[in-house]
């Protein structure tokens, strides 16, 4: 579903992502972890086509993100770290706009819009202008928009920011259900508890390099530590070391 093939991205002399090779199969929930500035957001932005790799290629459902961006986007749903909406559109109008952008047939779009409004409990404010929404309301609407076209790949950048506990539960349940049905989720997060609870595999990125890739069990095995929580292993793995690259 998602394939990073020796991907490198540089910002001037600084390498944000170094030679990343990663393959995520259908139906997997993958969590990318790492400290601030590790290269997670750059990886996510390359995965949704906002940034182009300096070297290497990224493919989603077989479509190259640079050469064939439109076809790739047809398979991707994206929830950015900062929800961006049209202030002067209502939530429902925004959902219709997204549905139309994906070329969804009208009757099907109507059904799916109502479905997502119900899932994310948006009905109370779906007909209000987005400029009046709180951060959490905006985030729920963006989630609804990203799932509207039943994407094969859902990309989440810090998805739980601004959500209340009930909304977090809704999102978690929904992600679990969708991955069971075959959707692939690529998620960047600082919420280790969520990664521990939900992720099939985790990747830990430090200074642009993938320092670990595998399941939690494999991580415990690799580190050969008595510690058992992801938090302890994460802190051990990302602790600053003398010298640096």
């Amino acid at each position: 579903m998602i394939e990073f093939d020796h991907v490198t991205r540089t910002y001037g002399p600084r390498t944000a992502v170094a030679d990343l090779s990663l393959s995520i199969p259908r139906g997997e929930l993958f969590a990318l972890l790492g400290p601030n500035g590790a290269g997670k957001t750059t990886t996510i932005r390359m995965l949704v086509g906002l940034l182009h790799p300096s070297r290497g290629a990224i493919r989603v459902c077989g479509h190259d993100l640079v050469a064939n961006a439109r076809s790739a986007h047809l398979h991707i749903g994206y929830v950015p770290d900062e929800p961006s909406l049209y202030d002067k559109l209502t939530g429902r109008e925004f959902l219709w706009f997204i549905a139309d952008m994906f070329g969804m047939p009208r009757h099907q779009a109507g059904i799916r819009i109502e479905r997502e409004i119900e899932h994310f409990e948006l009905s109370e404010f779906a007909d209000e202008l987005a400029e009046r929404y709180s951060l959490g309301m905006k985030q729920r609407l963006v989630f609804a928009a990203s799932l509207l076209h039943d994407p094969d790949v859902l990309v989440l950048d810090e998805p739980m920011v601004g959500l209340d506990p009930r909304s977090v539960r809704i999102v978690k349940d929904l992600l679990a259900a969708r991955t069971r049905e075959g959707m692939t989720v690529f998620m960047s997060t600082h919420t280790l508890a969520m990664a521990e609870e939900m992720a099939d595999r985790v990747g830990i990125m430090v200074r642009g390099q993938l320092r670990f890739l595998g399941t939690l069990a494999e991580l415990r095995e690799q580190m050969a530590l008595e510690t058992t929580t992801l938090e302890q292993m994460y802190l051990e793995l990302t602790a600053p070391r003398g010298g640096g690259p």
């Binding site: 086509g49 049209y86 994906f102 969804m104 076209h149």
Partner: protein, 593 residues
């Protein structure tokens, strides 16, 4: 939910026509909601905008009507030169304004980041943002150009085809420089990312120098023999530079002049209309060709440029004025240090926000340029004092736009940082006072300098210069007091955009009160000088010296009258400064963020 259909199964890529329709629908919905919100929430502002626009249009129309009547009697060929000069300079400005608007819309907006993750063509996003930029460029052009062109039609007795063709001509013309601006913008970002700032700076500098040179060479001969036949010939020869047949401005000018042609009996000239339609077709064809090229370029370079720009590393910042900040922080008593720290913080924010200081520099720079050239214009010396007061009013009006746009929102913008400011060991009054001092000190030097420059160029004597400087000080104090006081009285702590805060009810009220205050100060201050002029005029005409009006005029022009009116000006200034500040500070003390 039943099993997933999967993206590929039920979805499809939109055709270009579908994308266009979708963006059109989006644009109409957004525009409708914006207008509706303005009607519901900002009627005062909307009313003011409409009223001022109508006044502006009417004034321009009247001025052009007079000018064309004069020129028509003098020499009809002048119109072609004037049209060419006007449209060609407008064309250059449109290239830059459209380029800058498109840069902001395509590379720096949250909307672009959203649209680039959707399965739509890059050129569709370009055309969508181009439409927005064109709208912004177009309404200014229509507001400036339409009174001139309508006045020309009226004076020239043009018939209906001229008026019908006006709008299509203007719109098709605007597309050309706007598309060139878009092409330049995308090319610079995609292939010359690092050169972007330098390239735009150099191009802007060259355009400014060319405009200054043209202006100077046109104005400088006025000193010797203004309005003489020789002057006209020299001026026409210089304006002829703009009459290039390859320029769209020439096609527009020629097309409009042809459309205005009439037969002897006043009926529209069919030959003229046919020529005009040919020129219109030429404009439309070139506009479409450039749009095609821009669309192709967007397909090839937009996503790549966006990615490159996002990866650009900002140059390391130098802090050339760090010494000044340190000196300001450490000067004065310890009890005043929090206020100075707040002042330095605002100063740093101002210096690092290019949109603030660049507008400040441009407007005050243009004003300075006009004042430097005052001697080049032929005016009667008897009017020097009046022109001096008018210039004082203009300086005040420009300052009021800055205090409304940048100073008024300052307290509201602290809203999001209230958790810092509110917890600091700083009295809330000091926050308000620091904004007032920032505005006062920031406005005082450029405004007083400009007034001094204007008066020196007008050859005004020192007593009147000192009066003007006093008025300028009063204006700076009053305008700062109004903006800061009202800003603290009516803060919008939830809003993060300064332009939205300034354009709300409080901002509009601040602008209206500021304008009334400027008018009051300038009118009261000008009474002694005006009385002296009227008194001299009456004396010269041998009017009765003992008339009651003459008595008042002599008193007003004398030292007692002058002192009285100046005291009234100071009283006005103190009221405008301290009443809003008092109200603002009282409200700010009680504010719960």
């Amino acid at each position: 939910m039943s099993g997933r259909a999967g993206a590929a199964g039920t979805l499809r890529l939109l055709t270009p026509e579908e994308e266009s329709r979708l963006f059109l629908r989006l644009g109409v919905t957004l525009a409708w909601e914006t207008v509706r919100a303005m009607f519901m929430q900002a009627r005062l502002r909307l009313g003011l905008v409409v009223l001022l626009s109508m006044m502006f249009w009417g004034s321009l129309f009247g001025m052009f009507l007079e000018a064309f009547s004069f020129l028509d009697a003098l020499h009809a060929d002048v119109t072609s030169l004037l049209f060419n000069a006007f449209f060609s300079s407008l064309m250059v400005m449109l290239v830059f304004s459209a380029g800058i608007l498109l840069y902001g819309g395509m590379y720096c907006s949250a909307e672009a980041r959203l649209l680039l993750t959707l399965p739509i063509r890059a050129e569709a996003i370009y055309f969508h943002k181009f439409g927005e930029a064109l709208w912004f460029a177009c309404w200014g052009f229509v507001l400036l150009g339409s009174p001139m062109l309508v006045a020309y039609g009226v004076v020239h007795g043009a018939s209906w085809p001229y008026f019908v063709l006006l709008l299509p001509f203007m719109v098709s013309f605007v597309v050309i420089p706007a598309a060139v601006g878009g092409i330049c913008c995308m090319t610079l970002v995609a292939w010359m990312t690092r050169l972007r700032l330098h390239a735009v700076s150099i191009a802007l500098t060259v355009a400014c120098i060319a405009l200054l040179w043209l202006g100077w060479t046109l104005v400088s001969p006025l000193r010797i023999n203004a309005m003489s036949a020789a002057w006209f010939e020299r001026t026409f020869a210089r304006l002829a530079v703009t009459e290039q047949k390859l320029l769209p401005s020439w096609w527009l000018s020629s097309g409009l002049l042809e459309a205005a042609r009439t037969e002897r009996d006043g009926r529209p000239s069919m030959a003229g209309v046919a020529e005009a339609v040919k020129f219109l077709a030429l404009l439309v064809a070139n506009a479409m060709m450039l749009q095609l090229a821009a669309g192709w370029l967007a397909r090839a370079a937009y996503r790549r440029g966006f990615s490159q720009l996002a990866g650009e590393v900002p140059a390391s910042r130098r802090r050339p004025l760090g010494w000044f900040d340190r000196a300001l922080m450490n000067a004065g008593s310890a009890s005043g240090r929090p206020l100075r720290l707040l002042l330095v913080k605002d100063l740093r924010l101002f210096r690092r926000d290019i949109s603030q200081w660049s507008q400040f520099v441009i407007f005050f720079g243009l004003m300075g340029l006009y004042f430097v050239n005052l001697r080049s214009f032929n005016y009667n010396n008897a009017y020097a004092s009046m022109i001096g007061f008018l210039n004082l009013a203009v300086v005040g009006l420009i300052l009021s736009t800055f205090t409304t746009r940048f100073v008024y929102p300052m307290i509201s913008l602290e809203g999001r940082r209230f958790w810092i400011i509110g917890l600091l060991p700083v009295h809330r009054d000091q926050i308000v006072w620091s904004k007032f001092l920032f505005s006062l000190l920031g406005g005082l030097a450029p405004c007083c300098g400009l007034v001094l420059l204007s008066d020196s160029m007008l050859g005004i004597g020192w007593p009147l210069i000192l009066q003007h400087e006093l008025c300028c000080l009063v204006l700076c104090m009053g305008l700062s007091g109004i903006a800061v006081g009202l800003g603290a009285r009516m803060p919008e702590l939830r809003e993060s955009s300064p332009s939205k805060i300034a354009s709300g009810f409080g901002g509009t009220l601040s602008l209206v009160i500021s304008s009334l205050f400027i008018m009051a100060v300038v009118i009261v201050a000008a009474i002694p000088a005006h009385a002296a002029s009227v008194s001299m005029f009456l004396t010269a005409r041998g009017a009765a010296a003992g008339a009651p009006a003459a008595g008042f005029l002599n008193w007003a022009a004398g030292p007692w009258g002058t002192s009285t009116f100046l005291m009234a000006v100071v009283a006005l200034g103190l009221a405008a400064t301290f009443v809003p500040l008092f109200l603002g500070i009282r409200a700010f003390r009680r504010l719960e963020a």
